[in-house]
Symmetry: C2
């Protein structure tokens, strides 16, 4: 059977994450239900990154195998007609049968949006973390500098995670201030569970002046986050792009 | 009693417009309920512009009179604690007792957002009108040029409206294309009922090539919109600013 990849965008607000689970709406469930209607048979998808509950995507990628019923150019419109309005397929193409969105991705880009205005931007409230106290972007940037590159990031993984290795490469981490927003753009070869949100929470502590920028390097080296830096809320996070 | 003005932002998605009406949630109702809790008495507000059902605001202005209980600097936080999260007070100050947000405004700025991507931007779906077919921005700009200035805009008011005069001054009308979006920025001394959305609908017809740009001038002169240009949906419209 031919294999396809889809580029997918979604508003994660209403979903318990990407991955299928019992008794909860997930993006994967909606997508597989739409594929089942379209193809008349069960189709399983695999995603490049399993986004958590409440996390959004502008560039999730999934792959699946299906009979040659629908030309790739027609797939987005056909699926969008079957999907809820907070999930939109924006691209599709046929791929090699051994293509895997998860394994073949060499980098992913996540963006975290902080709303640093004195009052929240009401039209961005689902897509940003509102931090009312002013953040010092310069010290956040100083702290971010020591996170770039290949490191053992176990200090920033969620407690109780279990993976073979906690070494990851953060190709870049840019902090951009624009109007009342601060955007943190992470590009890496892979991310530990809640790593982006834990780094963001820690950088916000730095921005608030509660944590010295140099301490972030110590946290990374010691492999222990300690009391600093809570996990930033899911709604500010968006999977922007998967690079193959 | 001292008089105050508030600068108000809201996501209009859940509301039947600004103005109080029977058996429907409105922004005015929420605001007056919050003021009643704060002051312990009934407080009526007057708004600069009564936005329709589903229309948003980044810069609505209201005025009211109230006892000297809460200093103006504390009003936004006090009210935001009582308001739902889709209504946010972003500023407050004491004003002259005869100040009227409605009468004293000499200009209002409305922005209409069109999402012209082949697929809708899922994170902007509540705040933009998705038009999938490509729009010709140059011809829309040509058509917009003849609308600027002081004209009788009755061709663009909603059917059944009843106002003393339908002459308004459109100080400026800018069309800005950025990524997949087209922003129409209207600045005028006043707007007839549904005027912005009717002009937008007509300019979209021009952008789609269904209406010649020159015909928009004819429509304005003849005072009759005819079959061209449906009313653009409410969700793309936002009251950006009121100028005093």
């Amino acid at each position: 059977m031919p294999a396809y990849m889809l580029c997918l965008t979604y508003d994660g607000t209403a979903y318990h994450g990407f991955q299928i689970q019992a008794n909860a709406p997930t993006v994967q469930l909606c997508l597989e239900q739409a594929l089942a209607v379209l193809y008349g048979s069960t189709i399983r998808v695999e995603a490049a990154g399993r986004t958590d509950a409440g996390v959004h995507a502008r560039g999730q990628v999934v792959n699946f195998s299906a009979p040659t019923l629908v030309p790739e150019s027609r797939l987005p419109l056909a699926l969008n007609g079957l999907l809820p309005e907070d999930i939109v397929v924006v691209g599709a193409r046929q791929v090699e049968e051994d293509f895997s969105a998860r394994r073949d991705a060499w980098a992913k880009v996540y963006a975290y949006t902080i709303d640093n205005g004195p009052f929240p931007d009401v039209l961005q409230r689902r897509y940003a973390w509102h931090v009312a106290r002013p953040l010092d972007l310069a010290s956040m940037q100083k702290a971010a500098a020591c996170l770039r590159g290949r490191h053992d990031f176990r200090a920033f993984q969620a407690a109780g995670s279990c993976v073979k290795t906690t070494v990851r490469t953060l190709y870049s981490l840019k902090l951009i201030g624009r109007r009342q927003f601060i955007y943190l753009i992470f590009k890496g070869d892979g991310f530990l569970y809640k790593m982006v949100r834990n780094i963001t929470g820690t950088l916000v502590e730095v921005g608030l002046g509660r944590l010295d920028p140099a301490v972030v390097g110590d946290i990374l080296r010691q492999g222990c986050r300690g009391p600093a830096g809570a996990t930033a809320p899911a709604r500010g996070l968006c999977l922007e792009k998967v690079i193959f």
